[in-house]
């Protein structure tokens, strides 16, 4: 695997992890103690600060997965596939959190856990597309073939992102688009989006590294087996 970068451990990784944990705690503190209580919904509205942040990360994950999948198809370097899978997995986690937090918010705002509203539906479809893609990937053993098929599906799967973004505007949905907000609310929302984006990026980097090491281990095992095979026979 000549195209894989050498293993790099790091105090930097640990320090970044600690920094991002602090950022997440700081944004949580801001959500509960800086953001004013919303007049109509009360404290339940605070879910929005997390919901918007993870929803953004979920969409970004899907776009990153598609972009890296396309880059693999062009460059044929497994490095891009590792990025694609890592971004997709973390994006899928964020999509799951988006559905859970959105459902909790909807229960208070609309009186139901779920409604077939365009944005909700397209978000659920995105989640299913992610899940199907991972299922296909897991059924292919050859890494290059897995990367190629995963890359094509990731590019196709990206088609749902514009639908999620524009669903409410195009199809008269009831999902809030850009509601009026107190400046402090906007500040907290911004802080939450930044901290969750940092967490998303950190997790994606760590997962990519894990995938790379896993592939290198598999290659070493094959090489060791090949070297020992003649002597056994």
């Amino acid at each position: 695997m000549n195209n894989l970068s050498p293993d790099r451990t790091s105090t930097g990784t640990l320090a970044t992890g600690v920094l991002i944990t602090c950022l997440i705690f700081a944004s949580m503190w801001m959500i509960f103690f800086v953001a004013p209580t919303e007049a109509t919904m009360g404290d339940v509205q605070r879910i929005v600060y997390i919901h918007v942040a993870v929803a953004w990360c979920g969409l970004a994950g899907c776009l990153a997965m598609g972009f890296c999948g396309a880059m693999f198809l062009v460059r044929r370097s497994l490095e891009w596939d590792f990025w694609s899978q890592a971004a997709g997995e973390v994006g899928w986690l964020c999509s799951t959190l988006t559905l859970i937090t959105g459902s909790a918010w909807a229960h208070e705002a609309w009186g139901t856990w779920w409604t077939w509203e365009p944005r909700l539906t397209s978000s659920l479809v995105l989640w299913i597309i992610y899940a199907g893609l991972f299922l296909v990937r897991s059924s292919i053993e050859d890494p290059n073939r897995r990367a190629r098929i995963g890359g094509v599906l990731a590019v196709v799967g990206m088609s749902d992102v514009p639908l999620v973004l524009m669903a409410t505007r195009w199809f008269r949905g009831v999902h809030p688009v850009t509601p009026e907000m107190d400046p402090r609310m906007r500040l907290v929302l911004l802080a939450s989006v930044i901290s969750f984006t940092a967490l998303f990026a950190y997790l994606a980097v760590q997962r990519r590294r894990q995938l790379e090491l896993s592939e290198r281990t598999a290659q070493l095992e094959i090489a060791a087996w090949s070297a020992s095979a003649p002597s056994q026979s």
Binding site: L73, T121, S139, V152, D160
Partner: protein, 228 residues
């Protein structure tokens, strides 16, 4: 390759698949029968006043069509792989995009056959007046067929070479074609309730854009599929 030669190759590839299907009847009878079973089951579940049937009938019809249509997409490549002809097909001196368009056209033909059977069957079993305005219905069917077949052909080609592919195509394809299913269902509902307004045209635009984007994207990406 000159345009005329490309069109000739496209036609012969379509001709090959249609001839094989008409002779051996590997896929279409099973697909139509599955569609009929679905229509029968769905029609028995909508014992409602006619105006309410019109609201849900379109969605159920298209669900039956597209669900049964996954069989055609699934078999469009496995036939060649099972018979060991896939390598020969990929060696055929045409661009991969031509191969994709030929397979897609055969899948569109399969969907048309399916609709020619299922729409009358649904009308008979449920009394929903789908044929009251045939022009707009044909437009919905044409756009829906192209969009579904484009994605179905691409995904079918990807899953056809997998060892454990049982159910994978359906699992992947149906979420990806949700815009087509919803678009066809919603436009048919608006058509049957007489609400051809700006919203109807917006859904038609979505169907048209989806069909165009995935036909082009499928043709472009097919070269990455035929490497197996």
């Amino acid at each position: 390759m000159p345009a005329r030669q490309t069109i000739n190759s496209l036609w012969w590839l379509i001709h090959k698949d249609l001839t094989r299907e008409l002779r051996a009847q590997h896929v279409w009878p099973g697909m139509v029968l599955l569609g009929l079973v679905l229509v029968f089951l769905l029609a028995t579940q909508i014992d409602l006043p006619l105006d309410q049937k019109a609201r849900v009938g379109g969605g159920l019809l298209w669900l039956a069509v597209f669900f049964a249509g996954t069989l055609a997409c699934d078999r469009s490549f496995t036939g060649e792989r099972d018979a060991g002809c896939w390598q020969a097909l990929t060696l055929y001196p045409v661009a991969p995009s031509v191969l994709f368009l030929a397979k897609m056209a055969v899948n569109v033909a399969a969907l048309v056959i399916l609709e020619l059977v299922l729409v009358p069957a649904f009308i008979v079993l449920s009394d929903v007046p789908f044929a009251a305005r045939p022009g707009p219905l044909l437009l919905i069917a044409a756009l829906g067929n192209v969009g579904f077949a484009a994605v179905g052909t691409l995904v079918g080609s990807l899953t056809s070479g997998l060892r454990h592919r049982g159910g994978l195509l359906t699992l992947l394809l149906l979420p990806l074609v949700v815009p087509v299913v919803f678009g066809a269902a919603e436009t048919t509902r608006l058509l049957l309730t007489g609400e051809i307004d700006s919203l109807w045209w917006r859904w038609i635009q979505l169907l048209a854009v989806f069909a165009a984007v995935f036909t082009v994207a499928g043709a472009m990406m097919f070269e990455f599929v035929v490497e197996d």
